[in-house]
């Protein structure tokens, strides 16, 4: 699969730390002007992958192409990237005002007016030492830099730790609004899958260092169904299908199956007294990264 509009293209990429393989022979591409979700459990390799793509860490093997070249120590590539991470360190004695004052020197697309609006909306105290900011305020500083920098390729690694629900909604709304006016590629890693599921256009799921799902978000949303009803009926209906999850209580069962259902199958389910429930992106990912369910990985 070759796509001329790919801004990131990764081939057989691996990163090992001693005996631990954090990223395990990964291949994928990232299209231009698309919002990607990089999803996975803690320790799945999300941050390591982003550090590799931004040249902050060095690959053990494989190749990384960002804007047509390796990002490592490459000013032409890096000047188009903004990487916001949850654990970002700041220089000693820095205040938020120092961050916003220096950011435009490094991000050529920086929009100072937009940054100002965001500072007000997120209520960031400019004059307080960064060390004294709350977890949420600290995250807001990163989110503002990530949005106002308008870098052609922006990474958000768990950007909103400690942000309250209102502030998170501001982030989603502002990201979407600004993205439609200034299209760019955004890669967002998060645990709050349901919250961002409407935002995402493409989903990459990483589990134990491997990409197990690389799919359009729309396709993914309809790709599984939960069937609930009497155990006998459910078992008959789901026979021969790929099961993602199943649970039963007494004579009742609920089974999540992979794949689209045809109109005929839906009618059949209704006739058998079965209930068909949509599966949210979050449930789908929980089912597929649950380490006890390896059949899905094998067939994905």
């Amino acid at each position: 699969m070759t796509d001329t509009s790919a801004v990131v293209s990764v081939t057989a990429l691996s990163k090992r730390f001693g005996s631990v393989t954090a990223v395990d022979s990964v291949d994928f591409e990232v299209r231009e002007n698309t919002i990607y979700g990089l999803l996975g459990r803690n320790g799945a390799g999300k941050t390591t992958l982003m550090q590799l793509l931004t040249g902050q860490d060095f690959a053990s093997s494989g190749s990384i192409n960002v804007f047509g070249a390796s990002p490592v120590e490459n000013p032409d590539v890096l000047s188009q990237i903004c990487f916001i991470k949850e654990s970002q360190k700041y220089p000693d004695e820095f205040r938020a005002k120092h961050v916003f004052k220096s950011a435009p020197w490094f991000f050529t697309n920086w929009d100072a007016a937009f940054a100002e609006e965001l500072i007000e909306e997120f209520n960031v105290p400019l004059n307080r030492p960064i060390k004294k900011l709350s977890r949420g305020q600290l995250s807001a500083v990163g989110v503002i830099v990530g949005l106002a920098s308008r870098a052609p390729l922006t990474f958000f690694d768990e950007p909103y730790l400690g942000l309250d629900a209102v502030a998170r909604q501001i982030f989603y709304d502002r990201l979407l609004a600004d993205y439609s006016e200034h299209p760019r590629t955004v890669i967002l890693s998060t645990h709050l899958i349901d919250e961002v599921s409407n935002l995402l256009e493409h989903v990459l799921v990483i589990d134990q260092g491997r990409i197990i799902i690389d799919e359009e978000a729309d396709a993914l949303r309809g790709s599984a169904t939960t069937v609930a009803g009497t155990r006998a009926a459910v078992e008959r209906f789901t026979a021969g299908r790929t099961l993602l999850h199943s649970e039963s209580i007494g004579g009742l069962a609920s089974v999540t199956i992979q794949g689209q259902l045809s109109a005929f199958e839906r009618a059949d389910a209704a006739d058998s007294g079965l209930e068909l429930l949509p599966v949210s992106l979050q449930q789908l990912i929980v089912r597929s990264t649950n380490t006890s369910t390896h059949d899905f990985q094998a067939s994905a």
Binding site: T47, Q51, T54, G55, Q56, D57, F58, E73, N74, P75, L78, S79, Q80, I81, C82, F83, I84, K85, S87, Q88, K89, Y90, P91, D92, E93, F94, R95, H98, K101, S102, A103, W105, F106, F107, A151
Partner: protein, 241 residues
């Protein structure tokens, strides 16, 4: 080049780190020293280290700003380096910008220190026969010698701090353990070598022959080596959470 200069601006955007704090620290050390000299004088102690009545009082307060610069250099690698990478700076740009910052800060501080050294000489040691800024020259020296010596000393402390912090950034705690163990062993070995070959006198006369300015010139070589080592190590260093 613009991006390297932007790293210099990033180091200096917060005036606290390189402008305000070092002078607050040196200023306090200076005032404390003056107070001690005045107390000594008021209780009738007028002699300095050799016990003669005309000998001046010497103070090591100048070390405070040098130690501060070493700590600031450690912080520059530990905190500003990961921050700058988040601002999409390359390691090369960061290191060159940081080295340039060390040079500019040392040069500017050296001008102020030189003025203070001249005042010290003109006022016979702040009217108390004290020596604080002219200690490396035993109270003597010309302004040009002073400037060069202050400049070289600050560079030495800055690049030493940066190199040590870079060992940590590159190899974490293992690097620190190896560095201090190997470094300590090397020092003991050097001490043994000098002691067994009876070279203390030779080293002493070599230093005397070089004078303060000559030694400052030699220290530039050490700073350059620390700088090159720091650069080589940082090129493969990774900021970790």
């Amino acid at each position: 080049m613009t991006r390297i200069w932007n790293v210099v601006r990033l180091h200096l955007v917060n005036r606290m780190a390189y402008v305000t704090l070092p002078w607050i620290i040196l200023g306090s050390a200076f005032l404390i020293t003056i107070a001690i000299w005045m107390i000594l004088r008021s209780v009738g102690v007028t002699s300095g280290f050799d016990g003669s009545a005309s000998s001046p009082q010497f103070s090591g307060a100048l070390l405070s700003i040098l130690i501060y610069l070493l700590v600031a250099a450690v912080m520059a690698i530990n905190l500003t380096f990961p921050f700058a990478l988040g601002f999409s700076v390359t390691r090369r740009e960061f290191y060159l910008g940081t080295a340039l910052t060390f040079g500019l800060v040392s040069a500017a501080n050296a001008v102020v220190l030189t003025v203070l050294a001249s005042i010290e000489q003109a006022t016979n040691g702040w009217g108390l026969n004290g020596r604080l800024f002219t200690v490396p020259w035993g109270g003597g020296g010309t302004p040009i010698e002073h400037w060069f010596g202050f400049f070289a000393l600050q560079l030495l402390f800055s690049f030493a701090g940066a190199a040590i912090a870079t060992i940590y950034m590159r190899w974490r705690i293992n690097g620190m353990v190896v560095f201090w163990v190997v470094g300590g062993a090397a020092l003991v070995g050097l001490f043994a070598l000098i002691a067994y070959t009876n070279s203390w006198a030779a080293i002493g006369s070599w230093m005397t022959a070089n004078g303060t300015t000559g030694m400052a010139a030699w220290s530039l070589l050490v700073s350059a080596l620390a700088g090159l080592a720091g650069y080589a190590m940082l090129r493969r260093a990774t900021p970790k959470n």
